[in-house]
């Protein structure tokens, strides 16, 4: 078995012994710990698994079994970081985890780890990362028995102290500040308001701040005052929302 690493359409960054790899094709990033990075770098289509294990052993000063390398290959393959090579075919190998842990404990080897990290993509940015039941803003919101609906296009502007828009009460998380995403902001009139709102942001007056612009859909909120949504007063060290 002669594994071959994939190198095209990848951006690679070293971070001490680790590697961070961004896959341009799949819009994914992976962090390879030292062992996985070592194996990935030696997958040149000429070096066998046993040879990689020997090289790893020479580097760490401990005996390393083939199964450690095979585990790394399996993880690399599932992260699409190996090239499908007719001769090499790093096919998935079923190594019992217990066996591997035993090996690792026996030889003091750091097990390979490939961690896939979420990268913002247009699709992910369009909806909150947390799968909540928050409805998306719609052009024709569901009519509700609204005593005092906010006027169409009411602007509520909040200034927060971080570009991520972390709201200290935890209701509006960083993902909620991505343009076009949907948020729910607690409203004193109705408790936790489940009104669909369109959220946009732009740079604030000082560095590290942003201005959050929330558009309330006409007639969408049953309980909020006619003047618009009242936002929470600023609290905590991360700033908060201001009514403007």
């Amino acid at each position: 078995m002669l594994p071959l690493s994939r190198t095209e359409k990848l951006l690679v960054e070293e971070l001490d012994e680790d590697l961070v790899i961004y896959d341009e094709e799949r819009h994914k990033a992976h962090r390879l710990n030292g062992t996985a990075a070592f194996v990935w770098r030696r997958c040149d289509g000429r070096t066998t698994v046993a040879q990689i294990a020997a090289l790893l052993a020479a580097k760490t000063g401990d005996a390393v079994g083939d199964d450690v390398v095979l585990l790394a290959l399996r993880q690399l393959q599932s992260a699409s970081l190996l090239r499908a090579n007719g001769r090499t075919a790093a096919r998935p190998v079923g190594i019992p985890r217990r066996e591997l842990l035993k090996t690792a404990a026996l030889f003091a080897v750091v097990l390979p780890a490939v961690t896939t990290i979420l990268v913002p993509t247009p699709a992910q940015a369009a909806s909150p990362a947390t799968p909540t039941a928050t409805p998306k803003p719609t052009a024709t919101p569901t009519p509700t028995p609204t005593p005092k609906p906010p006027a169409a296009g009411v602007w509520c502007v909040g200034v927060v102290n971080t570009m991520e828009g972390v709201n200290p009460d935890g209701v509006v998380g960083p993902t909620a500040t991505t343009p076009g995403s949907t948020v729910c902001i607690p409203c004193p009139a109705s408790g936790t308001c489940k009104t669909p709102m369109e959220l946009r942001w732009r740079r604030g007056p000082t560095a590290g701040t942003c201005i959050i612009i929330v558009t309330v859909k006409p007639g969408a909120c049953a309980a909020c005052p006619a003047g618009g949504i009242r936002l929470l007063p600023p609290v905590g060290t991360n700033g908060g929302w201001y009514v403007v």
């Binding site: 971070l15 990290i117 940015a125």
Partner: protein, 365 residues
């Protein structure tokens, strides 16, 4: 560092402050290296998770930068990238260790419409209302046009035709900056960026403009100085004097030395001793940066700070006059005027600023 960690810190506060000061990735690496046995595993895991997210985002942004620079090069538009991944590489030797939210690219003002087309070919567009008007792109006092990535991508790209807003009066000539640009290796290939001498001036100006919001803004200057022992200080100082930005440069250097032990040459130390105002400004910034409860609410006090950071009377006057009257893109976005009525934006701006500051002051009281 170990001694400090062994004292039993409020680790939640440490994490919060690292976030506020944009130092999560650096903290994660240092604690992992030197104090992994002392720091609670939960804290290490949280920092590592955030650092990984930053690393992933930064590589994604670097990839976008490469695509944009390639598109600009294909359109034969001279461009240099600055801050963002470039600064991370120059200062820390790695794009992963400095969090940034957007990309900054500098081009000549005369090519801004060509650049817009190049951006559009990649799916990057200015905000809808900006895109409506070609004239807006040429608004003299506007120094930067924001572009948003395809779809609802959170990545923003600031396309600069000047380094600083007109009102800030920081006359570093864009053409000269582009001529002095150098190449730097980034993941995915080399890109053009500002010379180290220009970059230092730009970082000190940028920090001052934003009233030094986070320790990272000082740390990147300190690390840049450490990584560039061959820096031509004579050029830096003479350029700073010519552009009236010597005090901003000295303030940045003074902060970098005091907070991060950055090496400064004797010529700079002499200049620091000469300008007593720098010491006072340094103390002000340090006290705010090191105050864990400071919320960096500088909206009202910022103009006064900016004035104190200028050594020449004419720059202070320009700052005041232009700050009050010179139109910005936001004015044009607030009130849409036809091209022939553009001069009226000189009246729109003061009205808008008054309303903005009035609200801010009212909120404070």
């Amino acid at each position: 560092m170990r001694a400090l960690a062994e004292r039993g810190l409020d680790w939640d506060l440490v994490v919060t402050l690292a976030g506020r000061h944009n130092l999560v990735s650096l903290l994660s690496r240092s604690l992992g290296r030197f104090c992994a046995d002392i720091v609670p595993a939960k804290i290490l895991a949280q920092l590592a998770k955030d650092a990984n997210a930053t690393a992933a985002h930064n590589l994604f942004a670097t990839n976008e930068l490469q695509r944009i620079m390639a598109a600009l090069a294909a359109a034969e538009i001279p461009a240099t990238a600055f801050k963002g991944p470039v600064l991370a590489c120059l200062a820390y030797g790695n794009t992963s260790l400095r969090r940034f939210d957007d990309l900054d690219i500098l081009i000549d003002r005369s090519r801004i419409l060509d650049a817009r087309d190049a951006f559009a070919s990649l799916g990057y567009r200015p905000p809808p209302r900006v895109a409506k008007s070609r004239h807006l792109m040429r608004l003299r006092s506007e120094y930067c046009i924001p572009f948003r990535g395809p779809g609802a991508s959170p990545l923003l790209v600031d396309l600069h035709c000047e380094i600083a807003p007109w009102f800030f009066s920081f006359p570093l000539d864009t053409t000269a900056l582009l001529e002095r640009a150098v190449q730097i290796a980034l993941p995915g290939g080399a890109v053009w960026t500002l010379s180290r001498e220009d970059l230092l001036l730009v970082l000190c100006m940028h920090g001052t403009k934003h009233v030094w919001p986070a320790l990272e803004s000082v740390a990147s200057i300190a690390e840049l100085l450490r990584a560039t022992p061959e820096l031509r200080w004579g050029e830096v100082l003479s350029r700073a004097r010519r552009t009236g930005s010597e005090r901003m440069l000295l303030l940045g250097c003074s902060l970098a030395r005091n907070l991060f032990d950055a090496p400064l040459p004797e010529g700079v130390e002499r200049a620091l001793r000469r300008d007593v105002a720098v010491a006072a400004l340094t103390a002000v910034v340090e006290s705010r940066l090191l105050d864990p409860h400071d919320r960096h609410d500088t909206f009202v006090g910022m103009p006064w700070f900016h004035m104190r950071c200028r050594e020449r009377l004419r720059d202070r006057l320009r700052y005041c006059v232009r700050g009050v009257f010179a139109p910005e893109l936001d004015d044009a976005l607030s009130v849409a005027l036809p091209r022939v009525l553009f001069p009226l934006y000189w009246l729109v701006h003061p009205a808008r600023v008054l309303a903005l500051y009035g609200k801010a002051v009212a909120r404070r009281w």
